[in-house]
Subunit: 521 residues, 2 copies
């Protein structure tokens, strides 16, 4: 035990260093310019903690750094820290569900371009029902366009989207009210997350509804192509240089232009690939190739199918991997972990899938969702054991990993990165605000982490800037230098091939050097 | 990697065991009867998760197990699990602030017995101000009793408590309204915790206010004695067999019967000791000595004093320890860690205190509050390093310990127990509900834990049953067998002398055996 102040100060420094020894940023010595930029950001953060988060804001009863995202977003976007982070090169986006990646306003704009698209509702839309009635969309061939003129009087009857919009009742806001209604049906608003649906179970009901509405549009082939392009372009604009979206292949076919459910999975990949090439070529022409390395797809299906049905999907995945080896990055099962089947239910077909890969000479890593829960010892929490035993290369969420000392150690030792989605976790009520989030535990235990936005069209956290923001303002340990390590890890733990990865890291370092210089200036 | 289902099952079992290897309950093999009782409780818990927590309750919008305590309390008390836990022997209560341990209704009843007690307010009490105006109490000698007849028209004028009560305006509820107002001023209600004061900083303002109101009464010597007795008796009724309350010695004197600030600290201890003897003798006469081993005091002062002032208190503490060696259990600094001074500010007088103890031949262990925060790398979080470097024997709260891998390891290796206060943490907004609480991380890392109620008169979580309840219903890992280990640790990590401890453990085991038999029957 230390006895003099000097001895004490030394012992203290040593203890702190020992405690932080496992951190992934502990072994890298930042350059002077990095330290300077880091300092600039820390100073602004400290100032804004008072000037912005300590100030009164109309309609925001309890502002604080890292507060509930949906309530605080309007404040966040005005901060200097946010503006700086917008420009930061963020590496890869490793956890995002493709059908929830593009701003709902943009998706609607795309939908309005297609006269074939129709809409229907199961109940009449009026002032009391407008917040709960869910729209359904479908395309029809020209000769089958509906003659119905307006939506509200005709539940369950298809109406052309454009007509339904034009003739939407004035007392519900007319065309603007129509847009607002559709937008609300595909997003979560603050009064839902923090009021009417303020539990994990309740908010998941609303969350699931938003997917069922949006998927009618995203699974319409004429929209899909533009949708993917928009996803790439907005990601690039946000400083993301690589994306690895999860695509839900549960539906075996997309609808073609005339609404025929006939576009098979391989066509989805063809479209994806074409858009990818187009975007990369455009960037190259502009000399901006460092800004975007590319994209791969994580094949997913829903964890409500039977174990027997899973085999169809794993075989489908193998076939796609063989045809598009550069596109298929891995395999996962998605959906509400707390209510749908645990991984162990699929043990047989998953082990068999591994065998079949060997037979077919392909490698499709598992990238499982697991532990997206605050349950302790529940089926969802136990999914973490199975994900790791099955050899997952990363864990989607892994919110409950911090409870499991041995599993954290395994993740550190084997380099199993966690795809952490701070804002998603908060809106889906696993944590009430960012300071309560277990992320610092992962950092201090040296578990590789990639920050992700999960379903930005639903949460409004487009790109990665918002998630980076919430993380940065909720910790005195984390600064720009620490976020850089997260960005690096998002490339290191991506499913890029070794040489692609090397190139991606080099591109990122060039962008980072430029960024740091600007911030420090 | 496992290939067959059988191999997989074995590997899974081994991994779970390895992950739980550090748990303090992992080395003890429960008896058949313990396992049976544990199963009974798990079955009831599973049934009540549906029948109670899955049902609709008027005025409770989102019921779930482990929900916000102030909202869920009325549901909790009706459950079978609660009734069972009421009877469980819970060992020691190691973290409670004495002046917040007795039901406010009882404290008021005690106050009303003393005609010398007067009340005043700084603003007129009326329908709009009644929720915010704070009462102040003081005793006067008979010849100085106030002639003022009622409170509301006389801000800043002293009124006899009984008169103020009798003449409290009818539109504010008369005498009952008076009781209600005083009760509310000393407690936190759900709309404050989850509405108007729903941040750590805001709820601490209300929390601090409750202390300032109650302390005028608890520091009145004629009440103190009865107050301490009530604390012992209600603790015993709740299955607590030992208490180690923190007493705040910031004020150098208590008021005597006539309101003279003249009762010194040693008199407080004399009264405490007398009540303790009385209660123990009564129990012995009833053959109930197993139910209560005793009580010791943790000497505390407020962390807003200057480092220079601290020396007066440490010397005072040494003097008391020498006169009452059996009563002084340790030393601590209390108050809002997030806003008051960090431990490091007191480094010099604290190191000096250690030296002085050696000189005086006494041993007064540090039992520091530290890390009662969700801040990451903030001063409060950093207090944990200093508490440990200063050789603390336990940590009060240590809410942020889970972030610090090396510090958790040190706590496990050196046997530094955490005094975890689940309901306090939730009401003071460090966690929004029990499932979000980091307690399972401490359990799985083998950190010794004593569950505590902190300030039950303010939170309404009298005794330990409510905190045990919240912990039990929020985890599938924790059952009766696991809670027993927590109860055992609350004795093992108490500041009882070795032979007292041995006796306390033996008494507890006898009570536990009886309890388990009843539950399993």
């Amino acid at each position: 035990m230390a006895d003099t102040l000097e001895q004490y100060a030394k012992a203290r420094e040593a203890l702190i260093a020992e405690d932080r020894r496992l951190r992934r940023d502990s072994s890298r010595e930042p350059s002077d310019i990095e330290l300077k930029a880091d300092k600039v950001v820390r100073d602004i953060r400290a100032a804004e903690a008072v000037s912005v988060w300590g100030a009164e804001h109309p309609d925001i009863p309890h502002p604080f750094p890292g507060m509930e995202f949906l309530t605080g977003k309007s404040v966040i976007v005005k901060t200097e820290i946010f503006k700086i982070l917008l420009k930061m090169p963020k590496g890869g986006l490793l956890h995002a569900h493709l059908d929830a990646t593009v701003d709902v306003k943009c998706l609607l704009r795309l939908a309005y371009e297609h006269p074939a698209l129709h809409i229907r509702v199961s109940d009449a839309v009026n002032a009391t029902s407008v917040n709960t009635v869910l729209p359904e969309f479908k395309a029809f061939p020209k000769q089958a366009y509906s003659e119905v003129q307006e939506l509200t009087q005709s539940p369950m009857q298809w109406v052309q989207l454009s007509k339904a919009r034009e003739n939407f009742p004035a007392d519900l806001g007319g065309a603007q009210g129509f847009d607002k209604w559709l937008t609300a049906s595909m997003m979560i608003n603050p009064s839902e997350a923090y009021g009417t649906h303020n539990t994990v179970a309740k908010i998941w009901q609303k969350f699931t509804n938003t997917f069922s509405v949006a998927s009618c549009l995203t699974l319409y082939a004429p929209i899909f192509r533009d949708y993917v392009k928009e996803f790439f372009l907005t990601s690039i604009a946000d400083g993301i240089s690589y994306v690895e979206p999860r695509i839900n292949f549960r539906h075996r076919f997309m609808d073609d232009a005339d609404g025929n459910e006939c576009v098979p999975h391989r066509e989805w990949l063809v479209m994806f690939d074409e858009v990818l090439k187009e975007v990369k070529e455009d960037l190259q022409k502009q000399g901006r190739e460092d800004e975007f390395i590319g994209a791969k797809i994580i094949y997913t299906t829903l964890r409500l199918i039977t174990p027997e049905e899973l085999t169809w999907y794993t075989e489908d995945c193998i076939a796609l991997k063989k045809e598009f080896p550069h596109l298929i990055a891995g395999f996962d099962l998605v959906g509400n972990e707390n209510e749908l089947k645990p991984l162990i239910d699929y043990l047989e077909p998953l082990l068999q899938f591994r065998e079949r890969q060997k037979e077919e000479g392909v490698e499709i890593p598992f990238l499982f969702h697991a532990g997206e829960t605050f349950g302790d010892g529940t089926e969802t929490d136990m999914n973490m054991y199975d994900a790791i035993l099955l050899g997952t290369k990363r864990i989607g969420h892994g919110f409950s990993l911090v409870r499991h000392p041995r599993l954290m150690e395994i993740c550190r030792e084997r380099g199993i990165a966690l795809e952490v989605c701070p804002i998603s976790n908060e809106i889906l009520r696993l944590t009430s605000s960012m300071p309560m989030h277990p992320l610092p535990i992962l950092f201090n235990n040296g578990v590789p982490v990639a920050l992700c936005c999960d379903d930005p069209s639903i949460f409004g956290n487009m790109g990665l800037t918002f998630d980076y923001y919430q993380v940065l303002v909720s910790s005195e340990v984390t600064g720009l230098v620490q976020l850089a390590e997260v960005a690096r890890d998002s490339i290191k733990y991506s499913m890029l091939e070794p040489e692609e990865k090397q190139r991606a890291l080099e591109s990122w370092e060039r962008q980072w050097a430029k960024f740091v210089k600007e911030v420090a200036a």
